[in-house]
Symmetry: C2
Subunit: 308 residues, 2 copies
Amino acid sequence: MSQVYDRVALIGLGLIASSIFWASKRNNVSGHIKGFARSEQTRNTARKIKLCDEVSDSLENTVTDADLIILCVPVGAMEQVMVEIAPYLKSGATITDVGSVKRAVIDAVEPHLPTGVKFVPAHPLAGTEHSGPKSGFASLFDNRWCLLTDHKSADEKAQNNVMSFWKGLGANVEFMDADHHDLVLAVTSHAPHLIAYTMVGVADDIGKVTDSEVIKYSAAGFRDFTRIAASDPTMWRDVFLSNKEATLEILGRFTEELFDLQRAIRTGNGDKLLNYFSHTRSVRRGIIEAGQDTEAPNFGRNIEPDGD
Amino acid sequence: MSQVYDRVALIGLGLIASSIFWASKRNNVSGHIKGFARSEQTRNTARKIKLCDEVSDSLENTVTDADLIILCVPVGAMEQVMVEIAPYLKSGATITDVGSVKRAVIDAVEPHLPTGVKFVPAHPLAGTEHSGPKSGFASLFDNRWCLLTDHKSADEKAQNNVMSFWKGLGANVEFMDADHHDLVLAVTSHAPHLIAYTMVGVADDIGKVTDSEVIKYSAAGFRDFTRIAASDPTMWRDVFLSNKEATLEILGRFTEELFDLQRAIRTGNGDKLLNYFSHTRSVRRGIIEAGQDTEAPNFGRNIEPDGD
């Protein structure tokens, strides 16, 4: 494909930024990519593994020529970065981000947006439990969604270019209202993450009592929870603090429903449990049909075709 | 290896039984394996895919010559099966099971155990979200734990043979007290499953409102939950009803801790969240070091080595 941007700046060099770099190089989506990270250690690692065409020690130098600037820092760090880069953005440049929350990022970026700079908020729905510059890989966004949000500063051309960029990285792109995005993500991602963190915390408390048996015998359910609960702590702290209302609303519904199922267990109401579990199984089917996961047992681990 | 048993009977032909069959054939762990399922459709499927050396329509015929009888039915169905097979068990035969709860299975089996028949309760910690005779595969138990429980009817020889059998299938074997097993599993498996079922149910309620967006945009956290919540409904109903006390105890601790984290979100206590999430991340590390999961991002899906 033809390159969408000549010069791209990546601010922050973690899992998402490094995957953007490798995916962009794989598909030739953009020209020169310059990266910046606050931590010297991260910059050194990035240079060592040849992450970015150039790694800069200066925010000013990183953004000054860029056509597209991608904010790849935790949501809580977005405003400070914007304050620092605003004076050096060239007119006609486009700012985008990869934050898991959209309203809070808009509120953080908007006040500092220079005239002539477009802002296209974005959120790629992709990730792993790993973080840092070494954790990225080129196929992270393949067939995943990237949700874009309208912003008054952006015209159609700026939006179309960001859309082309993400499609070039392998993603499917759709537009969504910022507040609606935050509610949908509270359900599909934010509340599940807090729940997984909590369950792992509880298990660990008990695990100390039972002498590491909890870890030793961690079966499928808990093992998947620990994977979710191993996600980047700073990123998730910021997500919860910046999507507070929607997350608390969903958690309220969750505990209400959990208490109802607990009561079914306590009173021995097997029919209620069976109906509930049969229904959730059909939700899973919907997700597989929507192409958002594979049907392979156990995510394709340890599989032999004998039993099929 | 030399065969541990000449004749094995599999009662119930779902994921675990079919995986036992394929693993046993792969490693030549036993001689003739006869299978029985209550459902004619399951028996026909089993015959079609050559699951078992022989599929029988009769429980009596299935167990009458067997040296090892493996109860692979949901925990709630164990007692009825024992009542029906007890008159036909040969003296010196060994009964074992694969139930996720051990105290309830012992209580179900014990009263019907004929003199001269040994009982070695067992629980292989392995599975996928799929069920039925087609879902099994030979490597399901490789490097997974199988926990055995002492029972007064069993001598050392009977226990050693069941242990050799499971090691032959690829599993690591340890003994554990039945009540302790039920507590550890409530933490690592039963409570996480109920939580996943609940979260998927909540999301689906809201999903109807938001026109399937919840499924369409299901991100990593929720996607993993749906996989757990797609597990066999009957099996899990029986698990919760038969491990009621331990499950409710763990769920009580869980909601207590969840409320504490919700309060941290509501009051903006970022330090508390960051510390909590950093700690759970280290628990994950423990699990990887214990060899119970792979470090590969996203369970090895969509991986390219570029970023490493």
